[in-house]
């Protein structure tokens, strides 16, 4: 056996040992407290939780070692001791062990199992090293220096060896700490470990996306199809599986998990009885949190843990998580979900009661923060005035009770909203998505596109993103199809899944083509470039869900014949 093959096998064994073993043991011990395991979500959930707990434990151990000035060479002993203690505890509580086998973690997800095994094998071949000089080397260098110095808290720039300046980026430490532990324990070079990490990260990404798709759509077939589409289309950065060991992409795993956990808790909360007439009943968000603390305490702790872990891995994904629910909240506020009451109306009403107040609070707080921090307040004022008008107009429709007048008012208001929105869109920019102008090539990928009306009526300066560098390839054409399909979905049905997907496809698209909205978002969250792709990650699920609905319709239309 060649030495490279031996080292590659060692790296995979080390990954299991460092990134899964103790997390898996802890999850197995705590399994009876985790209510989600009672449902049929065991395999993907177990893998993600094991990975998340291991990352957290390793980060804490690494930081403790750094604070105590203990060198990382003692890590192997520490982790082995921890694992032995956990294994002994597990055997001491045989009920946990027996329950683990009884739960048959591989049952019920054979489709997902096949997909992740196939992708795992493919990714072992593809690996995490890409054939260009990309960000990955920057991250490997940081991990290598953490390992060499035996501390997370470096006093010099890891790449240049010079003192830190205020312009230097201080990266979230969790992933690099774990990489450093892997290097320290195995003695293998960082590039080889990085290469071997890709299949594991891809497997977890698919599990995370599956959980999220399953809890939102409520259908295993949709979730499985979404995962397959996720692997073969440009849903966003995560579909670039070869960059999956990058910190941002590791955080994506937990971002999907957060979405899953949030919807799972929302569903659980809806099924419980809540106090009526009390102050909690009038403050639904607070009621949700208090009720979660009482009834879903472990779930809330897991949610909080995942939030903290993302914070320590890559902050941006926490923002995307908040934005996903902010968009959902905005759609819940604007769209009338109770005109034709059905079984979904109650779900949406509950979601609206919990999420809408958070969305409003976020909008107000971001507006205040932007007003304080940024001098270009006209953009802010324009967006705030526009959003307030939008919400007021939709409230007007709801207040009208007479049916014949309501239809007329509704038509007038929504026509006004559509025309108003269309007036704000830069259609030249939208056209350039499909027909790229030569001038785009003259600028840097990360530069801004100057809209037609760069200077607005109040002298405000607006801008837009360029379509280059992954946005165009993400949108053409799976992404565009996803946006159109989400509109079809919202026209066809008003359910949680349709509203959430519509919100997270159409609002990001609107942001990308509307100078005021994009400028406003950039004011309080100035990340551009590749991260914009993240806003488009929901397309595989949209396409999968629309296909599923069309298929169900086709079957339904054939049923009279069968009768």
């Amino acid at each position: 056996m060649s030495s490279l093959l031996k080292e590659t096998l060692s790296s995979h064994a080390a990954i299991v040992f460092v990134l899964f073993l103790h997390g898996g043991l802890i999850v197995a011990l705590a399994r009876r407290y985790i209510a989600i395991f009672e449902s049929a979500l065991v395999l993907p959930l177990f893998l993600i939780l094991a990975f998340g707990v291991s990352l957290t434990v390793n980060t804490l151990v690494g930081m403790t070692f750094s604070l105590l000035s203990l060198h990382f060479s003692y890590l192997l002993i520490t982790l082995v001791a921890l694992d032995i203690a956990l294994i002994v505890s597990l055997f001491a509580r045989r009920a946990c062990l027996a329950g683990l086998w009884r739960s048959s973690i591989f049952s019920g997800h054979s489709g997902l199992l096949i997909v992740i095994v196939v992708m795992f094998i493919i990714m072992i071949q593809n690996g995490g090293l890409i054939d260009i000089l990309a960000d990955s080397w920057w991250h490997m260098t940081l991990a290598n220096k953490i390992q060499f110095h035996g501390t997370v808290f470096l006093d010099r720039h890891h790449l240049l060896g010079i003192e830190f300046t205020e312009n230097d980026l201080v990266y979230e430490p969790a992933w690099h700490t774990n990489l450093a532990l892997l290097i320290a324990i195995t003695g293998l070079p960082a590039p080889l470990l990085w290469h071997s990490l890709a299949p594991w990260c891809v497997m977890l990404s698919l599990c995370g996306y599956y959980l999220f798709a399953l809890v939102l759509s409520g259908n295993k077939s949709v979730a499985l199809f979404a995962v397959i589409l996720f692997a073969v289309t440009l849903g966003g950065l995560n579909a670039y599986f070869r960059v999956s060991p990058w910190p941002g992409n590791v955080a994506y795993i937990f971002w999907y998990f957060l979405l899953f956990q949030s919807f799972w808790m929302l569903s659980g909360w809806r099924q419980t009885e809540r106090p009526t007439g009390s102050i909690l009943g009038r403050l639904p968000t607070m009621a949700f949190l208090v009720d979660s603390f009482r009834r879903q305490r472990v779930a809330l702790i897991i949610l909080a843990g995942a939030l903290v872990l993302i914070l320590a891995l890559h902050l941006a994904e926490l923002v995307w998580y908040v934005l996903a629910f902010l968009f959902y909240g905005v759609v819940l506020i604007i769209l009338n979900t109770s005109s034709n009451p059905n079984e979904h109306t109650a779900v949406l009403e509950h979601d609206r009661r919990v999420i809408a107040p958070i969305a409003v609070l976020l909008l107000i707080s971001s507006a205040v923060w932007t007003y304080i921090r940024h001098p270009d307040r006209y953009v802010l004022i324009s967006v705030v005035v526009g959003l307030t008008t939008l919400i007021l107009l939709t409230r007007v429709v709801r207040r009208v009770t007479a049916k014949n007048i309501r239809r007329f008012v509704s038509l007038a208001v929504y026509t006004l909203i559509i025309l108003g929105t269309a007036a704000l869109i830069d259609f030249t920019h939208l056209r350039e998505l499909f027909f790229p102008g030569d001038e785009t090539l003259k600028y840097d990928f990360y530069a801004y596109y100057i809209p037609k009306w760069q200077i607005g009526l109040l002298g405000e300066v607006t801008y837009l993103p360029y379509w280059e560098h992954q946005l165009r390839t993400a949108l053409l054409f799976s992404g565009v199809v996803g946006v159109v399909a989400s509109v079809f979905l919202i026209v066809r049905e008003r359910t949680r899944v349709s509203l959430f997907l519509f919100a997270n496809c159409c609002i990001p698209m609107l942001i990308l083509i509307t100078p005021y909205l994009f400028t406003y978002i950039s004011l309080f969250f100035p990340i551009y470039g590749v991260y914009r792709v993240q806003l488009l990650i929901f397309h595989p699920l949209v396409v999968a869900y629309v296909c599923f609905r069309l298929y169900k319709d086709a079957i339904r239309s054939l049923k009279p014949q069968a009768v």
């Binding site: 260009i132 790449l159 240049l160 980026l169 670039y240 054409f477 086709a554």
Partner: protein, 458 residues
């Protein structure tokens, strides 16, 4: 309503849809022309087709594609408007190497009849030829003697008038629709009023072509519009025919068929992305033409490809170097090797690209001096610059550059492009003037700079 009026109305609709569908296809693909050929080059490279639009052969009027070493590759390169073209030039490779080339085929793309308008460009009688040495009497084996080998021909005159192609296309669509409807009608006992309604519903399938054509048109900057449009048209005609056949015996299938067809339309678009992922295409179908998007996973990609363009081949060298150098020192190397070394050894780089707010090009002039082709310098300029920078670094309480890494790998695409690697023998000769060779490996050589003063106490 009398049955004959039903037939008249259906016939009128069939003509109308046939005309519209044929015309849409024509508008999309007329005057497109394609040159196809098979090529294999020992050393690989880039094959390119130039189109002379009256101003000679310019880079801006050319399309090219990379070809791997030693493998047969079939290439089809398209030009959207053949009306202005006066000549065609085929560059099979772009470097001196032995290559095999099939006879290029010139194909008009505006006909639905496969092969109509195909013309061959004779390799034995090109109008122009450059840097080519013929190696076989059959005319398939050649050697490029320079970096710009090519064959050129004037554009052959069209062998079919345009109106004939247009008429043929419309006739094909019309005939196909008539045939499929009347085959379906054979299974129907009733030719009454509802036949028109079912026909109209069936036409919705044909209208899917407008959907596909729209996507093909939008994607025309990215991939071969004519091929996509033709495939989409044939698929729609076939699906429509099957649909009518099914509807003729069972009306309930109409709605179900429309839903299933919609799923097909959605997945049709998504399938282009999938085709790239599993390696059917060597680049994203909708990515900018001929850009090589390297980020993505591919079914056909293997670890060796990735390893050879990373630092994995240098693992053994780097392990040995670790024992021969002092930690925490600064080194100078090419861009790629700077990252490879800092990711593995406890050293700091002085040549990195701008990323995460880092940019450090302080030693660029030293690299330029080392790469300089001036034989009289013998490293003195580079050394002078190094001393100057060392003094500046020491004045700021920073260590100066102590090591210079020379990567000799001629395969890694991130390494082989830099001047240290290209001319490593000359560079090392210069380095020996003012530095000590501390390690010579299979890929990497390390030199320790011998400063005139004792900058390093250890």
């Amino acid at each position: 309503m009398a049955t004959r009026y039903v037939h008249v109305r259906i016939l009128a609709l069939t003509v109308l849809i046939g005309l519209v569908t044929g015309a849409i296809h024509w508008v999309m693909v007329h005057d497109r022309v394609q040159v196809c050929f098979d090529v294999r080059a020992e050393a690989g490279g880039v094959a390119r087709v130039y189109w002379d639009v009256g101003v000679g052969y310019k880079e801006s009027q050319s399309v090219g594609q990379g070809i791997p070493a030693g493998k047969w590759v079939s290439l089809c390169l398209t030009h959207p408007d053949m009306r202005n073209i006066t000549g065609i030039r085929v560059d099979p490779v772009n470097q001196p190497t032995r290559f095999d080339l099939s006879e290029p085929r010139l194909q008009r793309l505006d006909s639905l009849v496969p092969g109509w308008g195909l013309q061959r460009l004779a390799l034995h009688a090109p109008e122009i030829e450059n840097d080519i040495q013929r190696l076989s009497p059959t005319g398939t084996a050649y050697r490029a003697t320079g970096i710009d080998p090519y064959f050129g021909w004037p554009l052959p005159s069209a062998n079919s008038p345009r109106w004939l192609l247009l008429a043929t296309n419309i006739a094909i669509v019309f005939a196909f629709m008539c045939m499929s409807y009347y085959v379906a009608a054979l299974f129907r006992a009733d030719h009454g009023e509802h036949a028109v309604h079912e026909f109209l519903q069936g036409c919705a399938i044909y209208l899917l072509f407008a959907f596909f054509a729209g996507f093909a048109y939008l994607a025309s900057a990215y991939f071969d519009l004519a091929a996509a449009s033709t495939i989409a048209l044939y698929v729609c005609l076939a699906v429509g025919a099957l649909f009518w056949l099914a509807v003729s015996s069972n009306r309930i299938l109409v709605r179900a068929g429309l839903h299933v067809a919609s799923i097909g339309a959605l997945l049709f678009v998504v399938s282009f992305d999938m085709a790239y992922r599993i390696g059917m295409f060597d680049r994203p179908v909708f990515a900018r033409l001929f850009s090589n998007d390297v980020y993505h996973w591919r079914l056909t990609r293997n670890s060796t490809d990735n390893f050879l363009h990373s630092s994995i081949p240098y693992i053994q060298d780097l392990r040995k170097i670790r024992n021969k150098i002092s930690a925490e020192q600064f080194f100078l190397s090419d861009l790629a090797t700077s990252y490879y070394v800092t990711a593995t050894l406890p050293l700091y780089a002085t040549n990195v690209h701008p990323h995460h707010f880092t940019m450090y090009k302080y030693y660029r002039d030293v690299l330029d001096a080392l790469c300089s082709q001036n034989p009289e310098e013998e490293g003195s300029t580079a050394f002078d610059l190094l001393i100057e920078k060392a003094q500046a670094s020491l004045a700021q309480d920073r260590l100066p550059v102590r090591y210079i890494f020379v990567n000799k790998d001629q395969y890694n695409k991130n390494v082989k492009v830099n001047c240290l690697t290209k001319n490593f023998e000359a560079v090392e000769q210069k380095l020996r003037v003012f530095s000590r060779n501390v390690y010579t490996g299979e890929y990497i050589d390390v030199f320790e700079i011998q400063y005139p003063h004792a900058y390093f106490s250890n």
